[in-house]
């Protein structure tokens, strides 16, 4: 009898594993220094009280993909969404260690950071092709959104048929122009926020639940 019960439990566990729906993975992508980790930290802090990683004004501070599992957010509309948040290194086509030397690092440390940054970008691209179900594409609202890397990345995300929300960050700064971002990507919803100050996060959460849910 005990054998039968144990077998039944094992079969039930196997079936649960087999048919369990994987939690959706939302990747935060964008060029270096757009504020991706600040946003990831803001979302995770708002809903779990935890954090994802350190932030800095030095580009490529995030040099590894970081995932925070099972974050549940609720929009003002009452809809909830549970997802894994994937914070990625800033995507670029070039990395020179001299960039880090300009921020005061010794050559050895600058070379190490540059090497880690190249590995991080390659890793982020791999995640996008294999493991991401939706994308928050993050831009610095004070910068030119027409930069090639943005055009290319949005094209890559579109070609994978992934839902994409464009977030114009640093909207607290005087030079911020979310209108410029809207004109660059009229085919996608654009939300203007300041992840540092937490401005307009309610709209972002509402859009996320509607868009990725």
């Amino acid at each position: 009898m005990e054998f039968l019960v144990r077998t039944k439990q094992k079969i039930s566990q196997f079936l649960k594993t087999l048919f369990r729906k994987r939690t959706c993975r939302i990747g935060i992508y964008g060029p270096p220094n757009a504020g991706k980790t600040t946003l990831a930290n803001r979302i995770v802090r708002d809903w779990t009280g935890d954090a994802v990683g350190p932030v800095s004004e030095v580009p490529h501070e995030t040099r590894r993909v970081r995932r925070k599992q099972d974050v549940t957010i609720t929009g003002q509309n009452g809809n909830s969404l549970t997802f894994d948040i994937v914070d990625t290194p800033g995507v670029t086509t070039k990395i020179d260690y001299n960039e880090f030397i300009e921020y005061g690092f010794e050559k050895e440390e600058a070379v190490r950071r540059a090497r880690e940054a190249t590995e991080g970008v390659a890793e982020a691209m791999h995640w996008l092709r294999e493991d991401i179900d939706g994308v928050i594409y993050m831009l610095d609202s004070t910068q030119d959104p027409f930069q090639q890397v943005n055009i290319m990345m949005v094209g890559i995300i579109e070609s994978r048929k992934l839902p994409i929300l464009i977030v114009g960050n640093k909207n607290d700064l005087p030079d911020a122009s979310p209108a410029r971002i809207k004109s660059a990507f009229p085919q996608h919803p654009v939300i203007a926020i300041s992840s540092l100050e937490g401005t307009n996060m309610d709209e972002l959460y509402e859009k996320m639940t509607a868009y990725f849910g």
Binding site: V91, T92, T93, K94, I95, D96, Y97, V111, A114, R115, T118, E119, V121, A122, M125, H126, L128, R129, F146, Q148, I151, M152, G155, I156, E158, S159, R160
Partner: protein, 121 residues
Amino acid sequence: MIRGVQIDLISAERLDRLTSMEKIRLILDDVMEGNIVVLEKGLAPDEQSKLIEITMREITPDGFSGIEMETYPVKDTPDGFFSRLFGGKRSETRLTVIGPANQLKTIKKEKDLISAWVSSR
């Protein structure tokens, strides 16, 4: 001796004969030698994604520091009578310029004009 920069203009026909990895290797090998590559027809988004990934793996301190690339956004065009009828679209990649990041700089980019500056090594 006159110092200059080699520019390779690669035709759409030649690109069509190559696999994705062959295209990426052709571009990167050329660019890593300090040449500028102009593709008559650009890379598909998936090829661009792989190009970024492989470029990152080729970067070395005091050597290759990556690429500068400029292209126009992919254009969706209806492809033939049946596609038009059923709403299908063909994505058309467009003219693309790729060069070493330390030699090619974009001066101006508009909807219909890319202006770049090239330096010799």
